[in-house]
Each structure stands twice: as structure tokens, then as C-alpha cells.
């Protein structure tokens, strides 16, 4: 009998040992995943016992998020968030509340902010805090957002629906990222505050105000003529056309037996007659790009777009569900005719000038401008300059990182010249800055068949030869609002806000 008892004993001990194994799994491997779950109230509440790290703007002084202390019923000290800048960069920073969990950087960088990241120094600090029974302190973040530029961007967009993204083409550091209408994150935790924020009146009816939507990374807009940059890059990369190739512009382009007219942000006469490639881009002549698009084919244009980052969600330190991929959309879903059959649903001529189901985020278009500015090399966009320990020492400094090589240096150079022409004597003259060579491209996208309401775009970089700033501005649903007239002046002011100090730093 004893041998059998030993066997049963072994089974019993194995069963109990399996409990230790399973518990180990839940308390080590699985903790990160469980902590990140939306419905994890324990984590949400527990994290209020942590002195959460502060969030600073790029100057290291302007505080975007900090804490106020309060006692709970249990007598525990709890730390609640407050946002002294109110709506300043709230679309990027997000909020951290009890009632509605977290968004933005508050959510994505929660592990740094709560000191639960895996850096050895932080682990030792928090274990020390725990053993001493003192409050755990999180790490602080210094963003790349420049408070002055960010404030200006939000001011210029106030009363409109739209977004602006400015970044340093050499490093990918985001200088400003505005989305309008915005919201004050301090309201979220207040009674009915969330409802109040949701009820923000829309400045661009019939579109909803959607103040919690980060239009800069989530908003999808037809890119219009700014997309000609991609088409031009495809044409030049293939050596099908050269900048001095000539075209005849009859004022329209025939596709599927229908005439596609020159219109929108094109200035000057209705038909230009014989023009070269640079002039076609400079004056944004749809008929010419329509022809180029048909010659290249939709597949080729989309391939080029992918090289610039379309069809993938751009990396950034905000939650991935707050960023969208740009590309062709049908019924609200991204579709890729190069992998699924569906070219019959794409119209290459209209695609070439950024209409026909093509939707892009302002961040994506800012990356296009930034890539051209940086000689075809796309830097990984980033919002975080450095992570600081509670004592103030630097734990992590973010280094510039090449995201992808989109096109050749020569193609980027040729497009840069075209973009300079646009600002000097084309559709984007309103972005001119005295003493600085600015490169840009306007876009005016139809949002309905009414031909009077447009999304106005401007993508840009400056100074053209040694760019320190690149970006995109979009303003939604403007009555007769052309990119050159609405978005270019905003872009100009934003570039001016950055240029003086930047040019001093980089002589």
C-alpha cells in the first residue's frame, strides 16, 4: 500500500506545485498586460497611491501635468492629476483619472510615470520606497513639445476644426502637435465634466466637434494636392519623367471617358497649355498629375506612398488606438488594392492628386514634408525628449532614429526645388518669410460634391537648404477655403515661431 500512497502523495504535491507555477505567471509575466487593461480598476486606484511623475514641455519648466495630494477614507495619501496648462497639448498629454482611466501619453507612458518601468535604477528605487514604506515616486517626462509654438498653434486653430504638426526633420522631435477643438483635461474628473467636454459645440458643422479626438494623429482627411508630392516622387524615382519634362495641359484630363477638370487650389488660367513638371507642381495642375497618375498606375503610386509610411501606423508615444494609418479607405476601413484584388475600385488619375478614397493624417503628411526636407530619410517621430528620475537625473534620453528611407537624395532634392517654387511664385506664396527660403505644397481637398466646402492643407519645411522645421497644417470644412489662403498663413506664423531660435542654435 505504501508505494501507492507515495504515488498519490506525489500527485497531491504536483497539484500544489502547479499552483505556485501559475501564481508566478500571474505575478510576473502577466502583470504588465493585466495592468494595462481598461477595466483594471484596482490598478487604476492603486496607482493613485503613487506620486506620479510630472510631464514637462521641452523647456523643462512649463508643467503640463502634475499632482495634488488628497487623503482617502482609509487615511491613505492619494495623488490626483491636475493640468496647469489646461488645454495646452492636452491632445498629446491626455488625462489620468479614476473615473475614466487614461489616454494619451498618460496612458502610453504609464510605466515610467508610475515608476513601474523595467530600468534597473527605477526598480531599486521603488523596492526601496516599498521597504521603507514611503510613497513610490514615478519618473518625470520632458516632452519635445515647445510650449510657445504649441500655444500659438492652438491659438491659430481656435474656432476652426483642424490640426497642425511641426517636427524637426533631422531628429523627428515633434515641436508642436495641435488639434482643434481641444479640451481641458481638468474637466474630465469633475461631475458631468466628461459629458461637458463631449458636448463641445462644433466649429465645423456638420462634422462633430470630437474634442477628445487627436486630429493630428487620428483624423483622416483627403490630402488633396499635397499628395502630388508622393506622385511626383514616384515619377522621379522611376526616371519616367524629369523636372524639365514637358506636358500639355488642356485644362482637363479624360479618365474613363469623363473629364476631370482642373480646379481647386490651382491659380492662374484654366488651361496652362505647355508646361514642365516643376510648373505643373508649382501651380498644382490637376490635369498633368492626372496624366502622370494614369501613366504610372495606381499600384505604383501606392507603392511610393508606402515608402513614405502610408499603410502603417506612424510610431509615436501615444496609444496606438489614438493613431491611424493613412491610405485608401472604403466604408471607413483601410483597404490595400496591392494585396487584395480591387484595382477596379481605384481611379489612378484622381489618386495622383490626392482624391478618390485617399485619406491621410496630418502627422503622415508632416512626415512626408519632413522626409523631403531630410534628403529622403524619414526620422522616427517622437514626443519625448528625456525621462527623469524622481531625483532629477536623466534615466533615458531619446536618440534620433531612422524610421525608413523613402526616396533618393536626388529625388528629394528635385521635389524640394519644386516646393520652393510653390512658395516663391506658385499656390503657396502666403507662406513666404522674408529672409528665409520656405518650401511648401498646398492642398485643397473636396470633402463633398458641393464644390464649395474644402479641407485646406499646407505641408512645408524651412529653411529649404538646412531645414530645422517641417510640418503640416490642415483646416477642415472651409467654405471656399483654399490651402494657399487658409493653411499657408498659419504655417508661416508657426515656422516663424521656431526659426529665429533654431537658426541661432544651428548657424
Amino acid at each position: 500500500m505504501n508505494r501507492r500512497i507515495s504515488k498519490v502523495a506525489l500527485v497531491a504535491l504536483i497539484l500544489l506545485a502547479s499552483l505556485i507555477v501559475a501564481t508566478t505567471y500571474w505575478q510576473t509575466w502577466a502583470t504588465g498586460g493585466l495592468a494595462a487593461r481598461e477595466d483594471n480598476e484596482i490598478q487604476r486606484v492603486a496607482q493613485f497611491t503613487i506620486d506620479r511623475g510630472k510631464i514637462f514641455a521641452a523647456n523643462g519648466k512649463t508643467i503640463l501635468a502634475t499632482n495634488v495630494k488628497r487623503k482617502s477614507k482609509d487615511g491613505q495619501t492619494l495623488y490626483f492629476r491636475t493640468y496647469p496648462g489646461h488645454d495646452l497639448a492636452s491632445n498629446v498629454v491626455g488625462y489620468s483619472t479614476q473615473s475614466r482611466s487614461r489616454t494619451g501619453i498618460e496612458r502610453q507612458e504609464n510605466s515610467y510615470l508610475t515608476g513601474s518601468n523595467a530600468d534597473l535604477g527605477t526598480i531599486l528605487d521603488t523596492v526601496g520606497d516599498r521597504l521603507k514604506g514611503t510613497t513610490i515616486k514615478g519618473n518625470s517626462l520632458v516632452l519635445t513639445i515647445r510650449p510657445g509654438v504649441q500655444w500659438l498653434a492652438q491659438k491659430l486653430l481656435r474656432g476652426k476644426c483642424g490640426a497642425a504638426v511641426l517636427l524637426d526633420p533631422r531628429t523627428g522631435a515633434v515641436d508642436a502637435m495641435a488639434s482643434s477643438p481641444g479640451y481641458d483635461p481638468n474637466l474630465i474628473e469633475q461631475p458631468d465634466g466628461y459629458a461637458k467636454v463631449q458636448a463641445t459645440k462644433s466649429p465645423c458643422p456638420p462634422e462633430p466637434a470630437a474634442p477628445l479626438l487627436n486630429r493630428a494623429t487620428q483624423g483622416l482627411f483627403p490630402p488633396g494636392s499635397t499628395f502630388k508630392t508622393i506622385t511626383a516622387a514616384a515619377a522621379l524615382d522611376d526616371h519616367v519623367y524629369k523636372p524639365d519634362s514637358t506636358f500639355y495641359d488642356p485644362g482637363y484630363c479624360t479618365e474613363y471617358g469623363k473629364q476631370v477638370k482642373n480646379a481647386l487650389d490651382q491659380n492662374g488660367p484654366e488651361a496652362y497649355g505647355t508646361v514642365n513638371f516643376v510648373e505643373a507642381y508649382q501651380h498644382s495642375i490637376n490635369a498633368v498629375f492626372c496624366k502622370i497618375g494614369m501613366a504610372l498606375g495606381a499600384k505604383r503610386v501606392l507603392e511610393e506612398a508606402k515608402k513614405f509610411g502610408f499603410y502603417s501606423v506612424p510610431p509615436l508615444e501615444t496609444p496606438s488606438d489614438a493613431r491611424s494609418a493613412s491610405g485608401l479607405y472604403e466604408n471607413g476601413k483601410l483597404f490595400d488594392p496591392t494585396t487584395s484584388k480591387g484595382f477596379s475600385r481605384v481611379d489612378p488619375g484622381r489618386l495622383a492628386f490626392g482624391q478618390d478614397k485617399m485619406l491621410a493624417t496630418p502627422l503622415q503628411m508632416a512626415l512626408v514634408a519632413s522626409t523631403i526636407a531630410n534628403g529622403g530619410i524619414q526620422m522616427r517621430p517622437t514626443l519625448i525628449q528625456k525621462v527623469l528620475s524622481p531625483g532629477g537625473s536623466v534615466i533615458k534620453r531619446l536618440h534620433p532614429h531612422v524610421l525608413r528611407v523613402a526616396t533618393s537624395r536626388s529625388t528629394a532634392g528635385a521635389i524640394k526645388n519644386m516646393m520652393v517654387e510653390v512658395v516663391q511664385a506658385g499656390t503657396g506664396t502666403q507662406a513666404q518669410i522674408p529672409g528665409v527660403v520656405v518650401a511648401g505644397k498646398t492642398g485643397t481637398a473636396e470633402t463633398c460634391s458641393c464644390n464649395t466646402v474644402y479641407d485646406a492643407w499646407f505641408i512645408f519645411f524651412a529653411p529649404a537648404d538646412h531645414p530645422v522645421v517641417a510640418g503640416a497644417v490642415v483646416v477642415e470644412n472651409q467654405n471656399n477655403g483654399f490651402g494657399g489662403a487658409i493653411a499657408a498663413p498659419i504655417a508661416k506664423q508657426l515656422m516663424q515661431a521656431i526659426l529665429p531660435t533654431a537658426s541661432k542654435a544651428n548657424p
Partner: protein, 431 residues
């Protein structure tokens, strides 16, 4: 050193630990807890010294580790219950007193020869089933979380199933000792009475909707059958039968099906039908709420735990975050506050307890005692596995208590009887 002196030394260590535990709760929660918390520790030490004296007097040669381990487990449970709800700790403390009294009573009455129990085996068998059947009686039973396991007796709520488990082990030990040679031949007619008892038990369990107890009883039954007869085929056929039964239950009994679904897919990304509200909801917000919240609690502890008294169980304004945290989910609370290090220590104590229990079964020389000690110990191990395995998602979750730790009188008293049984057998083995 004699067994009893060794026991005393370990009890002193456990007493010191208990004092530390209450002290840390007191330090962490001064705002809500007074100095009186420390009197619990003193009272607790006194109680176990009394239990020790009774053991010294009745079972002088019994295993010296079981009582200190019991003390450790009950202290861990009591401290955590105290931390969660001081008023419940008082009740739990009273139940531990009753448990120790029953323990003393059992030791004193059976100190000469507990094997008299063998002659009443059929009485215990019938008693086991009767106890299981009690909650089905109208007016007496009560349904909690979909399972009918409770009985009202005046101000008390009792779970007769806990006691029934011990009765069943006594019955099986006696019956199998007598019939094991015949049973080993595997003739169907010899298996008759056993199958009848088993079928009756299963029927009652199906009627009470409790999968956890079914697993527990059936596991004890199979383990004891195997020890008695040595026929692995019984175990395999039995496991097959159990799995088939479980499958049918999953298909036919909504309560069981719900548990299985919650086990396999506790989280949904889209809304599904919620039987509690009759509307659509994410499963983690509805059916699998308990399972999921308890996992969050465990995960929040991480490696080192939050520290006793510093875990998060309520929102800042006092709304509880984990349902049934004192009873079914006391493990999740301890795992949060003690962390992987602390909860592994507790699970290791369970393992040592089981190892000591099995050692008693190995050392004692008569069949009834061997079966009794092995059956009680295996039941103890399987019960811990059933609840913690359910919480850890090894098996579907069922509401069953964690021996000596969970809040609940029936469980405490029954497990003190189990301890008394093991000590009696051990005393016999060592003399």
C-alpha cells in the same frame, strides 16, 4: 527534543509571525485600526498554546509540525480578514475558538483508539450524503452565487459539505479496508455499494450545482480507491467518467457552462449577452467579473507584494473592487499584499502539510489508518488546488474555501477535525 517541545518551539515562532502580521496591518492602517488589533495576536497565541497543551496530553507522540502549520495558515487568514474588515475578524476568531474546542473534543474522546470509527462506517456514509442533501431542503437551503451549498441555522449559515467531506473519508477508509481484496478483483457486483454511494453523491452535487465539490469528492474517491486496490484502471475509467460528466454538465447546466466559458474566455473585446442584466456587455464587466478582478488583485501584488495593509481593495470612497474577497478570493487578497514571495511561502506550507500528512499514512501500520490519513490529506490538497487552481485559471473557478484561510465557520471547524484526525493517526504511528 520531544515532539511536543518541538511543536511548542514552532508555535512560538508562528506566534511571533502573527504578532508581526497584526503589527504591520496596524502600522499601515492606523487611520482606521486601533491598538486593539494587537490583542488579536496575543489572544491567538494563547489559543494555540491551549491547543498545544491538549495535544501534549492526548496525542504526545503525534507529528509536531501540523499544529504550528495550522496556526500559521489560520493566522495568515485572520490577519488578512482583519485587514479587510475588522468586524469579520472577530467572528472568524470566534470560529477558530470553536474549531479548537472541537479539535480538543475529538482528541479527548478518541485518544485511546479512534479506530472505533470504523465500526460506524455506514453511518458516516449515510451522514455524508445527508449533509450534502441538507441545502436542497426547502426553507433551509440558500443559493449563493448559483450554487446551493448553504444552510440556515438560526443566526448561522453553515456549509454542511465541509463536514460531509470528512465523513465520506471515514466511510471510504472503513469500507475500502474491509473490501479491498474483493474490489481488487474488479468484479462488478462487489463494486455495487460503492457505485451506489458514489452515484448518490454525484446526484446531490448536480442538484446543488457545485462543480468544485464534485471534483473534490470524486478526486478523494479515486485516490482512496487506488490506494486500496492498486488498480490504475479504476482511476483512468473514473477520470474518463468525470470528464464525460463534466462535458455533459457543461452542455446541460447553465451555471456550469457559464463557469467554463468564464474560464476559457474571461475577456471579450466586443459585447456579449449578459445573463445577469439581460443586456449586452463585455464579459469582464458581467459574468467573469469576479475571476477577472481577482486576477487583477494578484497581478497588482507582483513579486514583492504591496505589503500587509497596503493593498488596494476599495476605491478611495470605499466601494469594494473585488467581490467575495474574504471567502472565495482570500487567496487573491493575500497574493496582492504578500506578493509572489509571500503567497509562495503559504503554498509551500500547504505542500509541507500534505507531505507530513502523507508521511503519517506511510508510517502507520493498519489499513484503516493508512486510508484515513491519506484520504484526509489528499482531500486537503485537492481542496486547496480546486479553489486556487480556479483563481489561477488552471481549472474553471468554483466557490470552495481555502482550508484554514478563508473566512467561514464550517470550513474552519471541519478542517480542525481533519487536523485532529491526522494527529490521532500520527500518534498511533509513533507509539
Amino acid at each position: 527534543m520531544t515532539e511536543r517541545n518541538r511543536e511548542l518551539a514552532y508555535l512560538v515562532a508562528v506566534g511571533a509571525l502573527t504578532g508581526l502580521g497584526f503589527a504591520s496591518v496596524y502600522i499601515a492602517r492606523q487611520a482606521v485600526v486601533g491598538w486593539s488589533s494587537l490583542t488579536y495576536a496575543a489572544f491567538f497565541v494563547g489559543l494555540y498554546l491551549a491547543a498545544h497543551l491538549i495535544a501534549r496530553f492526548t496525542v504526545p507522540h503525534a507529528d509536531p509540525y501540523l499544529l504550528p502549520m495550522t496556526g500559521f495558515l489560520t493566522a495568515a487568514g485572520l490577519t488578512e480578514i482583519y485587514r479587510l474588515q475588522p468586524s469579520d475578524a472577530f467572528k472568524q476568531g470566534l470560529w477558530i475558538v470553536i474549531g479548537v474546542a472541537v479539535f480538543a473534543l475529538a482528541l479527548i474522546t478518541l485518544r485511546h483508539d479512534y479506530r472505533v470509527l470504523e465500526s460506524y462506517k455506514y453511518l458516516f456514509g449515510v451522514g455524508a450524503i445527508a449533509l450534502l442533501f441538507l441545502p436542497r431542503l426547502p426553507g433551509l437551503g440558500e443559493t449563493v452565487n448559483g450554487a446551493r451549498l448553504w444552510v440556515h441555522a438560526g443566526p448561522f449559515q453553515l456549509q454542511p459539505g465541509e463536514l460531509s467531506k470528512i465523513f465520506m473519508v471515514i466511510f471510504l477508509a472503513g469500507y475500502l479496508r474491509e473490501k479491498r481484496e474483493v474490489l481488487a478483483q474488479g468484479r462488478l457486483k462487489d463494486l455495487g455499494p460503492l457505485l451506489v454511494i458514489w452515484a448518490a453523491t454525484m446526484l446531490v452535487l448536480v442538484a446543488t450545482n457545485d462543480l468544485g465539490s464534485a471534483l473534490l469528492y470524486f478526486g478523494i474517491f479515486l485516490a482512496m480507491m487506488y490506494i486500496a486496490t492498486g488498480r490504475l484502471s479504476f482511476v483512468l475509467v473514473g477520470l474518463g467518467l468525470f470528464l464525460a460528466g463534466g462535458y455533459v454538465a457543461d452542455r446541460k447546466i447553465p451555471h456550469v457552462h457559464e463557469r467554463v466559458v468564464n474560464w476559457l474566455h474571461p475577456w471579450t473585446s466586443h459585447k456579449v449577452f449578459c445573463p445577469l442584466s439581460g443586456t449586452l456587455a463585455l464579459r469582464q464587466d458581467c459574468q467573469s467579473y469576479q475571476e477577472v478582478k481577482s486576477l487583477y488583485s494578484i497581478a497588482n501584488g507582483g513579486f514583492g507584494g504591496t505589503g500587509l495593509g497596503k493593498g488596494t481593495f476599495t476605491t478611495p470612497n470605499g466601494t469594494p473592487l473585488i467581490p467575495d474577497v474574504k471567502t472565495d478570493f482570500i487567496f487573491s487578497a493575500l497574493a496582492q499584499e504578500l506578493g509572489l514571495i509571500g503567497i509562495s511561502a503559504i503554498l509551500l506550507v500547504f505542500m509541507v502539510f500534505v507531505a507530513r500528512g502523507m508521511r503519517i499514512a506511510l508510517r502507520v501500520d493498519d489499513g484503516f489508518s493508512k486510508l484515513l490519513a491519506a484520504g484526509l490529506t489528499f482531500g486537503f490538497a485537492l481542496q486547496a488546488f480546486t479553489i486556487v487552481g480556479g483563481i489561477d485559471r488552471i481549472i474553471p473557478l468554483t466557490g470552495i474555501t481555502l482550508p484554514f484561510i478563508s473566512y467561514g465557520g464550517s470550513s474552519i471547524v471541519a478542517n480542525f477535525l481533519l487536523l485532529a484526525g491526522l494527529l490521532l493517526v500520527s500518534n498511533r504511528a509513533n507509539t
